[in-house]
Each structure stands twice: as C-alpha cells, then as structure tokens.
Symmetry: C2
Subunit: 297 residues, 2 copies
C-alpha cells in the first residue's frame, strides 16, 4: 500500500496534460491520468481511460482513485471549432466539470482541485457577452466550480490562464506560426504569415510555467478562489511576429488584414507570485522551444 499523495490529472493527452504529467513525476506524486484514449507515453498503471461527459464512469473513476489532488485540464479548447459544435463544447466543459464536481462531493470532499479557466471567459459581472460558445462554456464552467465549492465547502480553485505556448501539440496561434516556419524551412520557401489584426493583444505564458503555477496553487494554502496565470505582459500580434522573426533566419512575407487598436490583456499575476510562483521562460525561450519541437516532429 502506498500512502503518498495521489494526483488525478484529467485531459492528460492534451498539450498541458503532458507537461503536467512530467511535473507530477518530478514531484514524486502518485499519479493517475485520464483521457478519452490511452496514451502511449504514460504507463498503463498510471492511466485510466475515462470520458468525463459520462457521469457514471466519472463517479466510478473518483470512487476508485480517491485522489488527494485533482488538476482538471480536460475539455474542449478550440474557440473557432466551438461554433460548429457548441453542444459538444458545453457538454465537455460544463457537463464534464459538473460530473467531476459531483463525484468530488460524493467521494473526496476533502480533496483539492484546480479547474483551469481561460482568459477567453467573459465577465457577466461587467455586462460582457460571450464572443463564442467556447467563451460561454468556460464562463459557466468557472461559475459552476466557484459556487459548487461555496455551497458544499469543497476546495476548488480556478486558474484563469492566458494563452499557452511552448513545446507540444497545441492549436494556438504560436503553434500555427511555428508550423508554417518549420514547413518553409524544410522546403526553403518564404514564410507566409497571415494576421487578421496586427494590433490584437495577447498575453502568452509558457505551458511549463502555467503547469508550475497549477502545482503551486494545488500545494499551497490559497486565500483566493481564483488565480490569474499569465506573463503579465500584453503584446500585439505584430510584436509576436517580430519576435518569431528575431529567432529564425528565414524570409518572412507578412500579410496583416487590419491594424485596429484593442485593449491590452491584463492578467493580475501578483497574487500568484505571492504564492512563490515565478515564470522560468520568457517569450523568446518559449518560441525557440516551440520551433525546436516542430523541427523534431
């Protein structure tokens, strides 16, 4: 019988999930990962196939594993695709979280959970409206988690995370640009980049730093029920592309559809820093590692 702390990582097959698994391994935790399909990089004894949209299977999973910590990464993460599959998006992000929260309430009410929110959630408090079904799903997921935690005195903390970058299979804008660069390098083409709004603002944070933040929240006493995770610096897509140019040697042909000023993304990272978190990667490091990942793929 092992009696060390057990962490359950949901969505372990995803971009963040693979880094979270590595981190948990480093920390020497007992790990159970879940995903809808088996993962060849994770040993069988550390992986359980479970689709969280299946309520009964989710209950069985939590009753069996009885985790001390839960890092809830599973979900539908593609804002654009959410227009084509709004039900599936809501069902994955809200339904899956409801199933997990109910299983926690029934079987492990003393566990601690981090639910990963998104900078793309909107704020009903400020009268904002959802820009897409994905934004709606994340906002309702976060509200459900916050209020469920209040109603049943369960320890659930929201990690509202900005755009994740770094090595691994992401569908974010940086990953798409990196793939184009590597493709062009292979065929010695010009690197063609199309940007919709050059002045659109983003906050990019390395996925490994975000994972560190999740573990920092999980393993510390928290005064807040929501932490924002980001670099704390908002940059424009023009600046992002310039940064890509600085770390590559190919010839770029950049088309920018418009340059319309938008509000900077302001992630409040001071509360997270006060838990001891500090980013280890800057944007250049992340882009270099991202390019290296795609060059090696």
């Amino acid at each position: 019988m092992e009696d060390k702390a057990c962490i359950l990582i949901t969505g372990a097959n995803g971009f963040t999930g693979m880094h979270a698994y590595e981190k948990a391994k480093l920390l020497g935790l007992k790990i159970i990962c879940t995903g809808r399909r088996r993962n060849s990089n994770i040993p069988d004894n550390e992986f359980k196939v479970c689709d969280l949209t299946d309520f009964k299977k989710t209950l069985q999973l939590i009753e069996e594993v009885k985790p001390n910590y839960i890092l809830h990464l599973a979900g539908f993460n593609d804002a654009l695709q959410s227009w084509n599959a709004p039900y599936e998006c809501l069902q994955a992000n809200f339904g899956g979280t409801l199933h997990l929260l109910e299983a926690i309430r029934r079987f492990v009410p003393r566990s601690k959970t981090v639910v990963v929110g998104s900078a793309l959630q909107f704020s009903p408090q400020k009268g904002e409206k959802p820009p897409h079904p994905y934004g709606l799903s994340k906002t309702l997921q976060v509200q459900l988690s916050e209020y469920w935690s209040d109603l049943f005195a369960i320890d659930v903390v929201i990690a509202k995370t900005s755009n994740l970058i770094g090595p691994g299979p992401s569908n974010g804008i940086c990953s798409k640009i990196a793939q184009k660069i590597v493709e062009a390098e292979r065929h010695q083409h010009t690197i063609k980049i199309d940007i919709k709004n050059g002045l659109a603002q983003c906050d990019f944070v390395d996925v490994r730093d975000a994972v560190d933040a999740y573990f920092c929240i999980l393993t510390n006493q928290n005064e807040l029920n929501l932490y924002e995770i980001g670099s704390g610096k908002s940059i424009t897509l023009d600046e992002l592309v310039a940064c890509f140019q600085a770390v590559t040697s190919g010839h770029f042909e950049i088309t920018v559809e418009e340059r319309r000023k938008t509000e900077p993304v302001s992630m409040e990272i001071q509360p997270l820093q006060s838990l001891g978190w500090k980013a280890a990667y800057n944007l250049v490091n992340s882009l270099q590692d991202l390019l290296a990942y795609h060059r090696a793929s």
Copy 2:
C-alpha cells in the same frame, strides 16, 4: 395536414404545466406536451413521453414535432430537495435546457421559446451567491438561455417568475398551508401553522396569471429578453397567514419562530404590463381557489 401553430409545453405534468395545457387548448393551438410520465388528463395524441435530460430523445422530439412555440416549464423545482440531489437538480435545469436549446438550434431556429426562470435565481452581476443548488441551477440555466439566444440569433425569452399560487399540485408554502387547513377542517381540529420568519417577504402570483403572461410573451414581439412576472406586491408571511385566516373559518394556532426584517421582493412587472398583461386574480381569489382544490382532492 394541419398547418396551425404548434406549441410544445415541456413539464406538462407539473403545477404550471396543467394550466398551460388548458390555456393552449383555449387558444386553439396545436399542442404537444411532454413529461417523463404519461398524463391521464392529456390525450395520447397531444402527449409525448420525453425526459429532457436524455439528449438523443430531446433531439428526436424537436425534430419530429418542429414546434413554432416552446414553453419550457420542465425542471427540478424544489429548493430544499436540491441540497440532497444537487447533481439531479443541475442536470434537470441546466442539462435539460442545454439539450432543448441545441435541438432548437439544429431543427427549429425560427421558433420562439419562453424559459421559465425563478425569483430564487441570484445575480452574479451584483456579486450575489447562490443560496442553494436550485438557485445555482436556475441562474446558470438563465445565463445559458440568454447567451445561447445571442450567439445563435434564436428567439428565447426568460420569464423570471415569483412564487406561484392557485389550484393544483404545488409544493409551495401556500399549498402546504392550504393542505393543513383542509386537513384540520376535515377532522375539526385547530389549524396549526409553523412559520420560520414572519417577516420573510414573498411576491405571490396566481399560476393562471403567470401562464397568461407566458403566452403573452410568446405571442407578442418582445423588446426585452427577460420579463419579470409577479403581482408586483411584496407581502410578509405574517400577512399571508392573515389572508388565509380571512378566507377560512377554522381556529388558527400560529407559531412564528422569529420576526427578522428582510428586503421586500421587487418584481418589475411594468414591462410585462406594457405587452398587455394584467393579473386576473388577487391573493384572496387565489387562496380561495387553492383551498377549493384541496377540499375537492
């Protein structure tokens, strides 16, 4: 082939549902009612058994019926019981509504829907917290409906309704008091009423007036996406009991646990009135009809 407008009434077995069926009948609409169990008061050709928490069955229902109007009454309505069955409450009120909204988006995007909200929903906009899982479920249901309607340009209006009273099988406080009165009348006992807070405030509206309001919203062009439905008058439970005493002749023994001032319930009914709605029943009428219903049961 009939080509008159078809209304789908969900939750037709409930307190409001039975009155909504009668009203739709009066209006000469083609009616399809749904409920989890068959209803002996509604002809088989006007009733389809469907549990809205079953996504596939809900899709089949809407694809088959193709309603022009939908009055969505189905749900979990017991705030106290929601503590024992929070998942079931969320699944009925949020999950069932999500299934219905997705079916509307897929098969009848030009239909018009009224989703019945509750005065017990809370306002995240005002920083309020849910008092019980039922309040959480209604608030998330209303947000989902509002934003889904925005995202997909579907005509969904919220009817935020205060406490319903009147003849029929309700589990509200008035119904409970009326049952005690009728019970005491039958056995010529003293009527024993226990009230927790005599100064707790409620707005009571007759279920038949609320049903009129739902049809008024359904059949009019609406400027708002949310209408409040109530009497517009907040009364205390002390006043409610006094009103019961005024319409009955038995001897009352009233125990009031405390008299702690609370905020009046303020339902904004002017927008509804501007659609032509007017309450036909006052509190005395409603209580008399409620007592008559229980005396005849």
